[in-house]
């Protein structure tokens, strides 16, 4: 697996797949049992002390802030430990305080912060030394929609303006899709997919959904399509686009009743991923999932 400078890469996999372990490997916290890890031109484990000064890490389930102290104290502590020059510190502090709205709770004790506030402060803290690479391990876990939007928007902006490389893990696929062009899936420590979200959808499933509104409340009987639900004169079907095309389906329907309206959609990315994870669980015994499975298209 290789990540280029300035990329945003979504890193996903089921529980226990090795996402957090990979983040720890890339942070220099642990060394690999086999294989090699190279990041920013160095070995993260052996060059840890210098290397970690160039990266930012956020562990979503834990905080780097000092719990008993005001938020401001953690930032001051970071300035000293990371040896950040005062002029740079002042510039970055101004930026993160504005962009992440830290002012409202900057002097409050960390223990009194809400999860969203704490996460924003953690993210700001990780960026204080202007890292070249940020590793985000589930940074939006447990956050409400507004807080998520704010954090994701900020990460995107940071990547665009400063060219920071971002590796982010999350279980929320739609969130990852908003943020990253590329997704890497792992399972049991092995690379299972590396490509864009479009490819991922296409490679696994050709399943589509069509909703038709007809004059008749009886749902038309269709070949190569399955009725999912029928409410009054609205009927929802799923079909495999490799087996039958949409015009062919509509032709079948129009032969049986009059069509008033139609709507189609592709399955949400979360459904696609759930399907992948389900496959992995089914084939866990003896089956080795390979990249070629995903890349058959």
């Amino acid at each position: 697996m290789q990540v280029d400078r300035g990329e945003i890469v979504a890193f996903a996999g089921p529980n226990g797949a090795g996402k957090s372990t990979t983040i720890k490997l890339l942070s220099g916290i642990i060394a690999p049992d086999s294989g090699k890890v190279h990041s920013l031109g160095v070995n993260p484990f052996t060059d840890r002390v210098n290397y970690v000064g160039r990266i930012g890490v956020v562990f979503g389930q834990r905080t780097e802030l000092w719990g008993d102290l005001p938020v401001a104290a953690s930032f001051e502590w970071k300035r000293v430990v990371w040896d950040i020059p005062m002029d740079r510190y002042a510039i970055v502090m101004k930026q993160v305080r504005e962009l992440l709205d830290l002012d409202e709770f900057f002097q409050s004790p960390v223990r009194e912060l809400s999860l969203g506030q704490r996460m924003r402060a953690d993210l700001a803290l990780a960026l204080l030394h202007e890292p070249e690479l940020i590793l985000l391990d589930e940074p939006t876990l447990g956050l409400d929609v507004l807080a998520k939007k704010k954090i994701l928007g900020f990460i995107k902006q940071l990547n665009k303006e400063r060219g920071i490389t971002v590796l982010i893990t999350s279980h929320d696929m739609s969130e990852l899709e908003q943020l990253a062009g590329r997704i890497v899936l792992i399972d049991h420590g092995k690379l299972a997919f590396d490509g864009d979200f479009q490819q991922l959808r296409k490679s696994l499933t050709e399943k589509r959904t069509v909703i038709v509104e007809t004059t008749d409340s009886t749902p038309p009987v269709l070949v190569h399509a399955m009725l999912v639900e029928s409410i009054s004169n609205r009927h929802q079907y799923t079909y495999d686009s490799a087996q039958i095309t949409l015009p062919e389906l509509l032709e079948q329907i129009s032969q049986q009743t009059e069509i008033l309206d139609i709507g189609t959609h592709r399955p949400p990315i979360d459904d696609v991923i759930s399907e992948i994870y389900a496959h992995w669980r089914r084939w866990a015994n003896g089956y080795t999932f390979t990249q070629t499975y995903f890349r058959q298209d």
Binding site: K24, V49, V57, R62, W82
Partner: protein, 210 residues
């Protein structure tokens, strides 16, 4: 603790009470039986004072859960320490330096040593004070190493071993001020190796009291 003056006073009062209560058992035994085994009452009090200072030093230099490293490991907090751009030992020593914790035991500890010493006709020469400081330093290093060895269990079982250092600390606190004379050689060897509480009171007190 540092929120306001009231919190500081309450913290010192409660901490002082807990620490005085933990000394009282040994103190009462020594008083009731005029010593324990071959140790006189004042020798026991000296050992108690010495052992109290170990508690002080552990909290002074290894506070903030550095002396309970299993908590840091079990809760994943060590990861945060490892993403700081400095050697791990330096991070632990600087984070652990908390001079206000356990300072409520410092004065009682010194008073106990001074009180016992005045009854034992100790001569507080510069050499003796230097020896006391060296012994205190060595005992503290042994105690923290003991905590680290057991605390490393949390790498293998983060959840179940997260609090193992609370138990090992409690064990040290309970046993460090008891004389080991008269115990079977196997027990004495065990208390100087596997569970080295003998080095936190008994051995140094013997050396310092001659």
């Amino acid at each position: 603790m540092t929120r306001d003056l009231k919190s500081i006073i309450m913290w010192y009062l409660s901490d002082g009470l807990i620490n005085i209560a933990s000394m009282t058992g040994v103190l009462l035994l020594a008083e009731r039986f005029s010593g324990i085994g071959i140790w006189s009452k004042y020798q026991i009090i000296f050992m108690l004072g010495y052992a109290s200072l170990i508690t002080v030093l552990l909290s002074f230099f290894f506070g903030y859960n550095v002396d309970h490293i299993s908590r840091r490991v079990g809760r994943g907090q060590l990861d945060h320490t490892l993403i700081q751009p400095q050697p791990l030992w330096l991070s632990l020593v600087t984070e652990g330096f908390s001079p206000f914790y356990a300072s409520s035991v410092l004065i009682p500890g010194i008073v106990l040593i001074w009180w016992a010493g005045s009854h034992l006709n100790l001569h507080y020469t510069a050499v003796w004070v230097a020896l006391l400081l060296i012994n205190l330093g060595a005992s503290t290093v042994i105690a923290i190493c003991f905590q680290f060895i057991w605390g490393s269990m949390a790498f293998w079982a983060p959840r179940s071993a997260e609090e193992i250092n609370s138990s090992t600390m409690q064990l040290m606190q309970q046993l460090k001020a008891f004389p080991l004379d008269g115990l079977s050689p196997v027990v004495v060897v065990s208390l100087l190796t596997a569970l080295p509480v003998g080095f936190l009171g008994w051995v140094p007190a013997r050396a310092l009291l001659g």
